[in-house]
């Protein structure tokens, strides 16, 4: 159930284009002063004490951590679904937990120091007010199969990329610009499927696809390496063979990454966040032309990034599908975005301060809508001890 009448209305009408899980506004009149909110404890021994009754609708509790350790505090129903959270709440700290509940039985859950959660007394909520949808929590352990599956896929992509990079290096050495450019495009596409957004691969990732923006000497900076540096050279008249060294360095960095992927496991939270971060990156770096160093392959990169998002989602799907009805809209939008990108005749990132072309606006709108529809993925799947 969606939170409020207006949201339910929007949802009823919602197709692919507008966000229905909107945050509406309660016509609550004046907010109760924090001082007059129920004073509720969070601790191992007194979890939920102080909360005894509530009317359906917006509920606000003034929760104080009376334990000696930090706590996470949740508001849950008898089936364990969550309706609100404070994460974290330090010892002695107080914060307001806000939730919107329909009639039913609820309780507070206190997880102190990441220990087993403790339930507070059951509170009967009465009245006819509408509630927000509850979400069954997900633990780190629940996410492990998804993380392992996704990481395995990334490793296989990396193997492909290493082979493609070997070909790139050979063509650079051979001094064949056209062939090197083609090989670069192939490798670049593969890399963009791998979800390298937002420092996902750390310093090694930066060596592989860092841009020149933060470098003291910009595109002339000798410390600049990786795919974008090679792109810059190949499309700015640098001789391919002079780029050979950069190709070799890229190969080394990819091997290093392969080693890291063998020994370290992705963090579950990172994988969950990647579900929307890849398309955030598409908006901010790809479609803006921010990362275009001459090849003008933004559309191809956007397609590769959609593929990357699809992979993350398919790993998460068993956990996500029962928790997020909007997933079908996500799937439909990925299909539509792919189609819209394929329909673009050519591509020009708008000059700064200029309005984008019609085709650009369509793709921008698709990806922007996708980021909105993917924002609930981390909020619902974030690993919790609840």
């Amino acid at each position: 159930m969606l939170p409020r009448k207006i949201c339910a209305l929007a949802a009823a009408l919602a197709g692919v284009t507008t966000l229905s899980a909107c945050s509406g506004h309660g016509n609550s009149g004046a907010a109760p002063q924090a001082a007059r909110l129920p004073a509720v404890q969070a601790s191992r021994s007194h979890c939920g004490e102080g909360w005894t009754s509530a009317q359906a609708g917006v509920i606000r509790l003034n929760v104080r951590n009376t334990d000696v350790n930090a706590a996470e505090v949740y508001l849950a129903d008898t089936s364990g679904k969550l309706y609100g959270e404070i994460d974290p709440l330090g010892p002695n700290a107080t914060a307001v937990l806000t939730a919107q509940l329909s009639a039913g039985s609820y309780h507070l859950r206190c997880s102190v120091n990441d220990g087993d959660p403790v339930d507070g007394p059951t509170v009967k909520v009465t009245g006819t007010g509408r509630g927000t949808q509850g979400v069954e929590p997900v633990s780190s352990a629940d996410l492990v199969p998804a993380v392992i599956g996704y990481q395995k896929w990334v490793r296989s992509r990396l193997t492909t990329l290493q082979t493609q990079t070997d070909a790139l290096v050979r063509r650079l050495r051979a001094g064949d610009r056209a062939a090197a450019q083609a090989a670069w495009k192939t490798a670049n596409h593969t890399w963009h499927t791998m979800g390298a957004a937002y420092g996902a691969f750390g310093a090694t990732g930066d060596a592989i696809d860092g841009d020149a923006h933060g470098l003291a000497l910009g595109v002339k900076d000798p410390g600049w390496t990786g795919l974008l540096r090679i792109e810059y050279g190949l499309w700015h008249g640098e001789s391919p063979s002079s780029l050979g060294k950069l190709g070799t360095a890229l190969r080394t960095d990819l091997s290093k990454l392969a080693g890291q992927l063998q020994t370290t496991q992705f963090q579950p939270l990172d994988v969950v966040k990647r579900a929307h971060e890849i398309s955030e990156d598409t908006l901010q770096q790809t479609l803006t032309g921010n990362h275009d160093y001459g090849a003008h392959v933004q559309l191809d990169e956007a397609l590769a990034e959609l593929e990357g998002t699809t992979q993350v989602l398919s790993a998460l799907r068993p956990l996500l599908a029962p928790r997020y009805a909007g997933l079908t809209r996500v799937d439909a939008l990925i299909t539509k975005s792919t189609k819209d990108i394929h329909a673009q005749p050519d591509w020009q990132a708008p000059a700064s301060g200029r309005a984008p072309s019609t085709g650009h606006a369509v793709v921008d709108a698709d990806i922007a809508q996708l980021t909105e529809l993917l924002a609930p993925v981390p909020t619902r799947l974030e690993p919790r001890v609840a």
């Binding site: 949201c7 284009t17 909107c22 009149g29 909020t379």
Partner: protein, 398 residues
């Protein structure tokens, strides 16, 4: 009386009273009470009538929806969101289902602090939405006038949203929430933050050329004038009754140049005193300019802005319209001059009879040397959302 605005002291007083929140028209101090906010629901978009507020944002969007169902859904969403943003209150807690709202208005958002005006451009009235035949008679892409230097990036758009409030954070929040809930359906084409200054020291706010602006015009409390000069009706498709042709022009002011012009020359250019806003024919800000005894323009030059815009003859009476303009301040140009000016806004019963006729009369006026229209568009402000079950464009899409 059909003549509007400053022709009668009474109407001027009413205009001033609306500005000053219903208090006395005279000498409203800078800290005058905030004017009342218009209701979201009504036959018209009442926000069009209210005097400019301290903070506004003009945002033009391109639609990316491709069919009628998509457009209908978008207009529903816009209605729901703007209604909720206007009523304010505690945002609905989302639990862990998704991310919260912007939060920039705090946990309990101000009630009735926002006004909005939603308008459509001519590009919407095409067959892709099955609306080819529904176009308001005069609606079209904005004309290019003799003194214009239009930048396509600052022109046009399918949908214009103007939001206004006493506080900047309210309009910023509104725009962000609106965009968030309509991402896939429309994309921002251009956007201009704007403001209206407090009275200095009283009466109409001053524009960035230092002159009181927004003095003359239809009396917004006179329904007969409003239906003749502001709200669309006769001759329009039935659905459009109660809407209004909304012209927005982004007009750069060459303020450095202007500041090197003497006050008396500036006053002759406008036809009004710079300090008081009074017409050069005498009286006070709200006194009607008197052209009857001034056929040669000795008091108010024939080519002054106000005289060319409104010669106050019976023949030109029905070319008056409702001006609702804001100032904008947008940075610096390539030679180090400030880019600032006027977000000129005009609500019209009939686009050609009113705005276009007046703009043509103003061609090559002396003021033209100091201003450059660079953007804007012709839009049609939809009829109002009548009640909590209605939505923008319900009659259009019925």
């Amino acid at each position: 009386m059909l003549q509007a605005g400053a022709l009668t002291a009474g109407a001027g007083a009413l205009t001033a009273a609306l500005r000053a929140g219903g208090s006395s028209a005279s000498a409203a101090p800078a800290s005058s009470p905030r004017r009342a906010m218009s209701d979201f629901h009504g036959t018209h978009q009442n926000a069009a009538l209210g005097s400019p507020l301290p903070a506004a944002i003009f945002t033009s969007f391109n639609l990316t929806v491709t069919d009628r169902a998509g457009l209908t859904e978008l207009l529903h969403t816009l209605t729901d969101r703007l209604r909720a943003l206007t009523s304010g209150g505690i945002p609905t807690p989302v639990g862990v289902t998704t991310t919260d709202g912007t939060g920039i208005l705090g946990p309990d958002t101000p009630t009735n602090a926002l006004e909005s005006i939603l308008a459509l451009g001519s590009g919407v009235f095409t067959d892709r939405f099955g609306l080819g035949a529904a176009k308001p008679r005069g609606l079209r892409p904005m004309d290019t006038f003799p003194n214009d230097q239009l930048d396509p990036a600052w022109c046009g758009g399918d949908l214009l949203l103007t939001v206004q409030s006493h506080d900047r954070d309210i309009v910023t929040n509104a725009l962000r929430e609106i965009c968030r809930s309509t991402r896939g359906a429309m994309q921002i084409r251009w956007k201009q933050d704007a403001f209206s200054a407090p009275p200095r020291p009283s009466g109409a706010p001053r524009n960035l050329l230092g002159f009181k602006d927004g003095i003359a015009g239809p009396d917004t409390s006179n329904n007969a004038q409003l239906s003749r000069l502001v709200w669309a009706g006769a001759g329009e498709p039935a659905w459009a009754t109660g809407g209004s042709y909304y012209v927005v022009r982004r007009i750069r002011m060459l303020v450095e140049f202007w500041d090197r012009v003497s006050t008396s020359e500036q006053e002759r250019i406008f036809g009004r005193r710079k300090d008081s806003g009074a017409p050069l024919s005498g009286g006070a800000e709200t006194t009607a300019p008197d052209y009857t005894n001034d056929p040669k323009g000795d008091a108010i030059p024939l080519d002054s802005h106000i005289r060319m815009a409104n010669p106050r003859t019976p023949q030109t009476a029905d070319s008056q319209f409702l001006r609702r303009s804001y100032s904008y301040d947008a940075g610096v140009d390539s030679v180090g001059n400030l880019d600032m000016g006027l977000m000129f806004g005009a609500f019209n019963n009939d686009l050609d009879r009113q705005f276009v006729a007046v703009q043509k009369r103003l061609a090559n006026e002396p003021l033209a040397d100091y201003i450059t229209p660079v953007g804007g568009g012709y839009f049609f402000a939809l009829p109002g959302v009548r009640n909590s079950r209605d939505f923008y464009g319900s009659a259009l899409l019925a």
